[in-house]
C-alpha cells in the first residue's frame, strides 16, 4: 500500500513545544525511613539505597533498606495493630478510614502523579489520568465493602486473615499499592507492604497520607528494599497471607517457599497476551487498541497485548496504519504532558529489552521502530514491532515487558484461538470484531483471566483481574478480589 505518492509525513512540520509539568509543588525528602507502627523509623542496618530518575539517571532520594530485623518489627507492629484496634473496630469505621485515604490521594493527586512519573519514568499524562485516579478509586470502592462483606459471600461468614505481606512491582507503584492495601484493609487485615526497589517514592508518600488519615498505628507498615526484603516477608512466620505481583519466575519461588506453611497466597504474574484483530473489526479503533495494548506504560504491563494476531486480509492495512500511528507517538521526558512513551524503568530492564531486540532480529524477524528522536541520557526504547515472526520465536513466547510487539497473521477463528492459547501464560487477551457473537465465542475460547473486546488495557476497581495458568493465582479487584483477604467460615 505504501508508495512514495501516498506516504504520510508526520515530522518536520508543526512540532509541539515542551509542556513540562512543574515540580515546584512536590515534596520529596532527601531520605526516606521505614514506615513501621505509625512512625518513620531508621533501618536497623543503617543502610540506604538510591532511587533514581530513569529519565535523567539522577538520584531523587535515598531510601531505607529493610533487613530481616526491620521486617520482623513491621510484622509485629502489624500483628499488634490487628489484635488491637483494627480487627475489633466497627466495620463501617474501618471503611471511613479507607475513604479518608481515597480523599487524600484525590487532594494530592498532582503531587502523586509528578512523583510517580519522576521515580518510575512513566509519562505524566498516564500517571495523572490513569494511575492516580484509579488508585483513589480502588480505595473508594473497597472502603464501601468494609461493612458489606456479608453480602459478598452468601451462606458463609467472612472473617479477616490477620497480617498480610504484600510485595508489589515497579510498573504501577501507587496503583499496585492501592490494589493490595484497599481490599486487605477493608476486610480487616493489617499489612506489611514492600514497594519495588526502583519505585519506592509514591509508596512513601502514601505512608504519609495514611499517617495523615489517622489510621491506627501499625495497620499499614511499609518497608523498602529489594528481593531480600521481599523474601523476609514471605518467610516470616507471623504473616498469614502473601500477595505478590511480579514476574512468574519470582512467583514460582514464592509458591515453593510457602509450601508446607499455612499461609494463603495470591500471585499476579507475567503475561504474553494475544490481541486478535478480525477483518470485520473497526480497523482504526483496533489500531488504537494495538497501540494502547503494547505501548501503554512503555509496555511495562503484565497484561500488555504483546502478541498481535491480524486476520490476513487486513494485515497489510493494519500494519501500515500502525506504522503511521507509531510515528505520532512522542518518546521522551516523562514529565512533558505530551509524552506518550516515557523512560524505561531501569537500566537492567532496558538491557533486557534490547537483548530481545537482538534475539528477534537473529530469529529472522523484521524489526520496525518509529523514527522519533530520544534524549541523550536516560533509558529509552522507541516503539517497536516485529513482523515475519512465528510461534516458535522467543520474542513471541517470552515476556519482554517493553514497547515491543510481535505480529503474526491468521486465517480462521480456530487458528487464532489455537495460537492465542499456545502459551504458558493466561493473563489477558483482546479481540476486535464488529460481530457480537464472535466476541462471546472468543471469550469462551481464550484461556485468560481478562478478555477485552474492542478495547484493551481497561482497569476498574469493580472488575476482577488475574491470570490463568502461569499468569497467577487468584483475582484482585471487584467482589472477587475480597476473597483473597478473607477466611470464609460456615
Amino acid at each position: 500500500m505504501a508508495t512514495p505518492e501516498n506516504k504520510l509525513a508526520f515530522d518536520g512540520g508543526w512540532e509541539y513545544s515542551p509542556a513540562p509539568e512543574s515540580t515546584d509543588h512536590i515534596k520529596v525528602a532527601k531520605k526516606y525511613e521505614l514506615f513501621i507502627g505509625g512512625d518513620f523509623v531508621a533501618p536497623a542496618s543503617g543502610k540506604y539505597f538510591d532511587t533514581i530518575n530513569p529519565a535523567t539517571e539522577e538520584r531523587l532520594s535515598r531510601v531505607a533498606l529493610a533487613s530481616d530485623a526491620d521486617v520482623d518489627k513491621a510484622v509485629k507492629a502489624a500483628r499488634k495493630a490487628y489484635n488491637g484496634a483494627w480487627s475489633k473496630m466497627k466495620p463501617a469505621d474501618r471503611g471511613k478510614y479507607i475513604y479518608r485515604i481515597a480523599r487524600i490521594i484525590q487532594e494530592r493527586a498532582r503531587e502523586f502523579a509528578a512523583i510517580e512519573s519522576l521515580d518510575g519514568g512513566k509519562p505524566i499524562r498516564e500517571a495523572r489520568d490513569v494511575d492516580v485516579p484509579l488508585a483513589a478509586a480502588h480505595f473508594f470502592y473497597y472502603a464501601g465493602w468494609a461493612d458489606k462483606l456479608e453480602y459478598a459471600f452468601p451462606g458463609r461468614r467472612a472473617r479477616s486473615m490477620g497480617v498480610a505481606g504484600q510485595i508489589i512491582p515497579w510498573n504501577f507503584p501507587l496503583l499496585m499499592a492501592a490494589w493490595k492495601l484497599a481490599p486487605a484493609l477493608a476486610c480487616g487485615n493489617t499489612v506489611v507492604l514492600k514497594p519495588a526497589e526502583t519505585t519506592p517514592l509514591t509508596a512513601m508518600k502514601l505512608a504519609e497520607a495514611i499517617a495523615d488519615a489517622g489510621l491506627p498505628e501499625g495497620v499499614v507498615n511499609i518497608v523498602t528494599g529489594a528481593g531480600d526484603t521481599g523474601a523476609a516477608i514471605v518467610s516470616h512466620p507471623g504473616v498469614d497471607k502473601i500477595a505478590f505481583t511480579g514476574s512468574t519466575e519470582v512467583g514460582r519461588i514464592i509458591q515453593k517457599a510457602l509450601a508446607g506453611s499455612n499461609k494463603k497466597y495470591t500471585l499476579e504474574l507475567g503475561g504474553k497476551a494475544a490481541n486478535i484483530i478480525f477483518a470485520d473489526a473497526a480497523i482504526d479503533q483496533a489500531v488504537e487498541g494495538i497501540v494502547n495494548g503494547i505501548f501503554f506504560n512503555q509496555g511495562h504491563v503484565c497484561c500488555a497485548g504483546s502478541r498481535l494476531f491480524v486476520q490476513e486480509s487486513v494485515a497489510e492495512e493494519v500494519i501500515q496504519k500502525l506504522k503511521d500511528r507509531m510515528e505520532t507517538l512522542i518518546v521522551g521526558d516523562p514529565l512533558d504532558k505530551n509524552t506518550d512513551i516515557g523512560a524505561i524503568n531501569s537500566k537492567a530492564q532496558l538491557e533486557k529489552i534490547e537483548s530481545y531486540l537482538d534475539i528477534g532480529k537473529q530469529e529472522g524477524g523484521e524489526i520496525h521502530q518509529s523514527s522519533c528522536a530520544v534524549p541523550a541520557s536516560g533509558y529509552w526504547c522507541r516503539p517497536t514491532i516485529f513482523t515475519g515472526v512465528s510461534q516458535s520465536n522467543r520474542v513471541v513466547q517470552e515476556e519482554i515487558f517493553g514497547p515491543v510487539l510481535a505480529i503474526q497473521t491468521f486465517r480462521t477463528f480456530d487458528e487464532a484461538v489455537s495460537k492465542a492459547n499456545n502459551t504458558p501464560y493466561g493473563l489477558s487477551g483482546g479481540v476486535w470484531t464488529d460481530k457480537g457473537a464472535k466476541i462471546f465465542r472468543m471469550t469462551q475460547s481464550v484461556r485468560a483471566g481478562v478478555i477485552w473486546a474492542n478495547t484493551f488495557n481497561k482497569f476498574d476497581p469493580t472488575s476482577p483481574f488475574g491470570g490463568y495458568k502461569e499468569s497467577g493465582v487468584g483475582r484482585e479487584g471487584g467482589l472477587h478480589g475480597l476473597d483473597a483477604y478473607l477466611v470464609l467460615e460456615a
Binding site: 508508495t3 504520510l8 518536520g12 480497523i283 474492542n454 478495547t455
Partner: protein
Amino acid sequence: MSLAAVDTKRKLPDLDRVPRVDEVGVNERVARFQSRSIKKESKLAALRMVLSMIDLTTLEGQDTPGKVRQLCQKAMHLHDSVPGLPHVAAVCVYPTMVGVARKALEGRGIHIASVATAFPSGQAPLSVKLEDTRMAVEQGADEIDMVISRGAFLAGDCAFVFDEIAAIKEACGDAHLKVILETGELGTLDRVRRASVLAMHAGADFIKTSTGKIQPAATMQVTLVMLQAIRDYFYDTGRMVGMKPAGGISSAKLAIHYLVMLHETVGNAWMTPEWFRFGASSLANDVLMQIVKQQTGVYQSADYFSKD
C-alpha cells in the same frame, strides 16, 4: 446536463467494504487529542494557522450586501493593530451575495466560497441545484459548498447521492467542490464514514461536516472519522481530499485540538488552508484574543476586537 452525461471515470465504491467505526474508541482517541498541551511557539504557530484556515461565514436569511461587505472587511483586516497576521482563507456566503463579495475582495487572495444546491436542506430537484451551482460559479465563486441529499442517503439510495455529487462537480468547472454531509442528520459514525467515502469517490475536493443549521454541527468525533476516511482514500488513490469542520467551533482552544487531530491523523501535508478549513463565524476573534494574550501576557476582553 443529465445524469447520463456524468464523468464515467467516477464509480460508486462498494460501501460495504468501508471499515466499521466504533464510537467508544473514537471518543477515547478524541480525548487523547484533547489531552495534548500546546504551549508557547507551537501555540502561536497554531493560532496563526487557524486564522489562515477560517472560512469566515455568514449564511442568514437576513444577510444584506452591507453585511457581506463588512464581513469582507473583517476578512482582510482581522486585527490590524497586530502586524503580519494572515488573512482568512475564504468568505462563505449565499450565491446571491457572491457578486458583492467578489467586488469587495478583488485581488486580495481571499477565496469566495458559496453554498449552493438548495442549501441547507438540499430539498430541490437536480436541475435547480445545478442552476444554483452554475450561478454561483458565474458570479465568481472559487469554491462551492454543496449539501448531499440526506433523505436519499438515509433511504439507502447511495447511487442517487453519488450521481448528484458527480453532476455538481461537473457543474463546478474550475471551482473547488466541498461536499457537506450534514453529519448531524446522519445519526451514526458508520454512516459518516460511508458518506465520506462516497463523496470522495464522486469527486469531492473537500468533505465538510455541517451546514451549521443543524445540531450537532461539527464535532471532533465526526471530523476524526472523516479524516480517517480521507487518509484511507489517499492510501488507495494518492489523491488528497480536504477537510472542513463547520459550525460549533468558536474557541481557539478547540480549534487547536482540531489541528492536533489533523496533525496526528493525516500529517503535515494537510496543515495548510489548501487542505483544511474551519467553517466559523465567531472563531476568529477568540483566536485573535489568544494571539494578543500570547504577545502581551494579559488576558483580553472582547470589547477590543471588532465584530462584523
